[in-house]
Symmetry: C2
Subunit: 344 residues, 2 copies
DNA sequence: TCGGCAATTGTAATGGGTTTCACTTTCGCT
DNA sequence: AGCGAAAGTGAAACCCATTACAATTGCCGA
């Protein structure tokens, strides 16, 4: 069962392959009668051009590689969904590469994508700490970016200047903190992620900054470091609750952590939001799936993805783009926070 | 910046491209000195073979297309993750195609994947009712399956005989029902999905069968039809609760629905599992993220994915495979169900 | 020293498109 | 009618690998 080729169509239509190619790509005028004859044959033979051959000669494949650390983490599918929606109409298809957080695999995938001649790469750094990874990988990424358009989403490689699309996480943390304070909270704890990651550092800094600006003190034990997981949220919340001097609100570095914290509170019989308010970050679907629904800072993940595509597309088209694009997060007030005005 | 080709390497090494190709693919003996000389050059020039060219001549691309209805639904990333883990070591890369439940797009993607010369296709039917879709699409899928190895996961196209990997959903529903009964429940409600979908029909049938087998009656109003969404779970649970005659347990067609139901109960001040037990289906991560953690029937999504890959791989290798592979689900008891033994 | 087989290596065809360049028609206009 | 421009088309090179087939070399035992 051999594949029908452009040659078969050409022969059948008594024209050259060039002409068939022209009607296929609309790249030059073709007489109407010729065109329709060819189209009929294409239809009849169910001819489908071989994308490999096309890619080989055009040096463009209409394919984009998306690298992410974990498909199973709801954050990424949301971003991917934004990428897809935006790029599909541009005619792109996607290689999805899940590195399961393994730098080794990142580098492997980078190679594979180059070999497959993708038109561009979107690298979802997400919560992974790119700044701590092996220098070889940094080189590898930079090297790749020199040859293929590459956009980093929510990540950074210090010492390099790659194209990036990021959420303004500092701003988000500021908004969340200020919101809690405006709601009357005075004693607020922050459950952070790994302390060596920039996303944690940024948020901690923002948190302290706003507290200070409002004349509030942040004692050392009110900032707890974990690892972004639900489990760590649960564990750290338990630590907070075991203390007789309990804060009235807890700000979590991400929704996963917040959900863990929430669970810990419920299990301990502490009412949320009545006894303690909890606020998360990201607004993954999970946030509104639970009870009480989580107040959180929404990262517009679909927009993050869509924007990354736009930037990448411009790079591919060799148009001018800003190196850095910042997406603003927004507060989503739901049920896990309560105003303290009454009780102050 | 022209790409380094096998010709460049060959010329530099004073050998023919054939020889270079041979060391690249280890397809014939090459003298050690020659080999190492070539390897050194490959390294030095950072030569990477062009996968398009290779695919074109080998007629195999090491690429698999995965079609699914919604990346954003946690069920699918889980399956995808299983696919990836299994297939990566076999050297495959994946095109991820999200149809957002649109039949039009399914057909588009099928075409694109054919053009891109994928080695095989994994079609995640999931909760989408393939049996109701347009006949053209059925033809399209069958037609594709005739040309390219194709495996259907958790789906079916009546009137066709495609290779399939499915979860034994009937069995799962039986187990769940029996478990509730064994726990002492006598009055159980079932919140189903759309009534025209096979997955719903199968589970409803299994539910009634087991109830009957245990001498229990299922009144008409104890089976409610929704649409698999959280919202419908919430709505239908409210309906159940508005009735003064309330069941002691509710079995939900999937976890999403169950989470909605759980939320409705909590909001209504009905304790779970103290006042009412709830059991779900799938065991998506969400199930164990909420409080109380959801008792559910686990679909082994990673195994589903991994198995699909194994079947597909055998098809690609033209080995013999069974048309149908069934994965057995298993009960996961957590916190949302309670034994009624005491109160009976 | 010679035939024969294995080990190495090269030549050229092949896979299926796109595209440059050149050539032939066909028009529009003067 | 005559001319230049535009339309329409084809031949052949090119993209970058793999591979069938052929050729050469090296080493063995006789």
């Amino acid at each position: 069962m051999k594949q029908v080729t452009i040659y078969d169509i050409a022969k059948e239509a008594n024209v050259s392959v060039a002409t068939v190619s022209r009607v296929l790509n609309n790249t030059a005028p073709v007489k109407d009668s010729t065109r329709s004859k060819i189209m009929r044959l294409i239809d009849e033979y169910q001819f489908q051009p071989n994308a490999l051959a096309r890619g080989l000669s055009k040096k463009e494949t209409g394919t984009i590689g998306v690298i992410l650390p974990d498909v199973t983490n709801p954050f990424f599918p949301e971003v991917f969904s934004g990428i897809e929606r935006m790029a599909r109409d541009m005619g792109y298809t996607f290689f999805l590469c899940d590195t399961i957080g393994d730098y080794e695999r990142e580098s492997q995938y980078l190679n594979i994508l180059r070999e497959k001649q993708v038109d561009g790469i979107i690298f979802l750094g997400g919560r992974i700490n790119l700044s701590k990874c092996k220098p070889e990988l940094v080189d590898e990424v930079v090297e790749t970016a020199n040859r293929i358009p590459l956009v980093l989403v929510n990540g950074d490689l210090p010492g390099t200047s790659l194209y990036r699309v990021i959420t303004n996480e500092s701003k988000g943390a500021e908004i969340a903190t200020q919101y809690l304070i405006d709601s009357g909270h005075r004693d607020i704890a922050f459950i952070a992620g790994n302390d060596n990651m920039t996303t944690t550092a940024q948020k901690v800094r923002a948190f302290k900054r706003i507290m200070k600006r409002n004349g509030l003190h942040v004692s050392g034990e009110r900032v707890l470091y974990g690892d972004f997981s639900m489990a760590s949220g649960e564990r750290l919340m338990n630590r907070i609750l075991s203390n007789e001097d309990r804060p009235t609100a807890v700000f979590c570095v991400n929704d996963f952590t917040a959900v863990g914290a929430l669970k810990a509170a419920m299990k301990a019989g502490i009412g949320v939001p009545d006894d303690i308010s909890i606020i998360g970050f990201d607004d993954i679907p999970l946030a509104s799936a639970i009870y009480p629904e989580l107040t959180t800072v929404k990262q517009q993940m679909d927009i993050l993805g869509a924007t990354a595509v736009q930037v990448l597309h411009k790079l591919i088209m060799k148009e001018n783009v800003k190196k850095l694009t910042v997406i603003e997060p927004e507060l989503v007030v739901r049920e896990s926070t309560l105003s303290r005005d009454a009780i102050q």
